[in-house]
């Protein structure tokens, strides 16, 4: 498919959670930017906030149809270029310049954005320059996704830094997000407002922990045979904190 379907640019798509909404806006900025502006965007935040769901959204075939690659700690320029080829569905042949030329050709013809997840792994190596080369040669929109220190690390690369159009931190789980997640993961259970507040506070709004707790609440309700989780139910809330010297 060479064209983005009308869904991505046409609007009317309901953003399921705030982070998906942020990625949607960011991708629209990058793909619809004026000529001459850089096309790299950074989406960063603590682990568990749902950044990968954002990456999945940006690479959805009926949406922005991005080319998704995920970096590993041992990534070299060549292995990174080969990963992009695999994700596009072309065979990587020859040396790095040849492979990069093939990638640039695909990106320029298809206008598909490139989504690079776990950028932290390559931010200190020269592999990062490959992303810049691809960006400059193809003019493709590129979304970098990484942990919360990503901007500071990227800023060290001056030539890279001024190619970033938008810095977008990921949002923590809001009350509205909680309701959507509850509908998905514990559809038949009614969670009381106070318990919701407690979960959001204890988990610091980390989406992954909120989901674990929703499962715990659902199991608690199933065990008790009730459909409503009151504020004072004795569910062990998962907070992600390491245990202290309890009881001593």
């Amino acid at each position: 498919m060479t064209k983005k379907m009308a869904t991505a640019s046409g609007g009317g798509v309901i953003a399921p959670t705030s982070n998906i909404g942020l990625v949607h806006t960011l991708m629209e900025q990058l793909t619809g930017r004026a000529a001459g502006l850089p096309g790299i965007g950074a989406f960063y935040g603590r682990s568990g906030l749902g950044k990968s769901f954002g990456a999945s959204y940006a690479s959805h075939p009926a949406g922005f149809n991005g080319i998704y690659v995920s970096c590993r700690s041992f990534e070299t320029k060549k292995s990174f270029a080969e990963q992009i080829c695999k994700s596009i569905g072309i065979t990587a042949k020859g040396n790095i310049p040849l492979i990069v030329d093939a990638i640039v050709e695909v990106l320029s013809i298809t206008n598909r954005p490139l989504i690079v997840d776990e950028v932290d792994y390559i931010v200190e190596s020269r592999t990062l320059e490959l992303i810049r080369d691809i960006h400059d040669a193809s003019g493709a929109a590129i979304l970098l996704i990484g942990e919360e220190h990503l901007p500071a690390k990227l800023k060290r690369h001056e030539r890279f830094d001024n190619r970033v159009l938008t810095w977008q931190p990921a949002a923590v789980c809001s009350s509205g997000d909680f309701d959507l997640l509850a509908k998905q993961y514990a559809g038949d259970i009614q969670v009381s407002a106070d318990l919701k507040k407690r979960v959001l506070a204890e988990t610091n709004g980390i989406t992954r922990r909120v989901v674990v707790n929703l499962e715990n609440i659902k199991r608690w309700c199933d065990r008790k045979g009730v459909k409503e989780a009151p504020a004072n139910c004795d569910v062990d809330l998962y907070t992600g904190r390491a245990p202290g010297r309890a009881g001593l």
């Binding site: 379907m5 990968s52 769901f53």
Partner: protein, 197 residues
């Protein structure tokens, strides 16, 4: 592995200018019939990928005549367009789920359902997501992180990313991977027999 559409498109891109007969020869075996080729060329023409150079007679007879088609709009992937000129939507849901699995890495079927659904544009049902995840798990694409418990679905981690095509569940209930061109899971004879009345 290439679909008939992929093979036709690859030859058109290489030759830049083709007739129906040339294209049939070009794609080689397995043999494609002229009518399929004619339909695809005409629909590509209508959606602006090709230009018909010498128009003569009725569209339905293009395959018998020396009518040349020239490539005017390039595309890396073979355009998936049906006879009415609309986009072929078959496989979008599977592809969305496959990409979501690669991006999220560790998931249960509800995560995949959530990630593959796009608001009011594309709704993936829980049943679709569940059966796709379960069959790919049997085909060995995932490692089980947490086995299923009553009320809590199993959680998997993606371990075999074979490529950009989503493995397909065929009508015969097996998992076929276009990236490798192999069946990665098939029902055993006993399972087929169990399904009979």
């Amino acid at each position: 592995m290439l679909t008939p559409r992929d093979r036709m498109w690859a030859f058109i891109r290489k030759a830049r200018k083709v007739t129906c007969q040339q294209l049939q020869e070009g794609v080689g075996s397995p043999h494609l019939n002229l009518e399929t080729i004619q339909d695809y060329l005409l629909v590509l023409c209508r959606s602006g990928y090709l230009k018909q150079l010498n128009k003569q007679g009725h569209d339905a007879r293009v395959r018998f005549d020396e009518v040349h088609f020239e490539l005017v709009k390039d595309s890396i992937e073979a355009p998936r367009i049906n006879k009415e000129g609309g986009k072929v939507t078959q496989g979008v849901v599977t592809l969305a789920m496959w990409r979501a699995m690669k991006a999220i890495k560790e998931f249960d079927y509800r995560d995949i359902q959530r990630a593959a659904s796009l608001g009011d544009v594309l709704q993936v049902s829980a049943q679709t997501a569940k059966s796709y995840v379960v069959l790919l798990a049997r085909a060995g694409y995932f490692k089980t992180v947490r086995a299923a418990k009553p009320g809590i679905p199993a959680r998997y981690r993606m371990v075999r990313d074979t490529g950009h095509h989503a493995p397909a569940i065929t009508r015969r209930k097996c998992v076929f991977d276009r990236n490798t061109g192999a069946f990665t899971w098939q029902q055993s004879e006993q399972e087929v027999c169990d399904g009979l009345q």
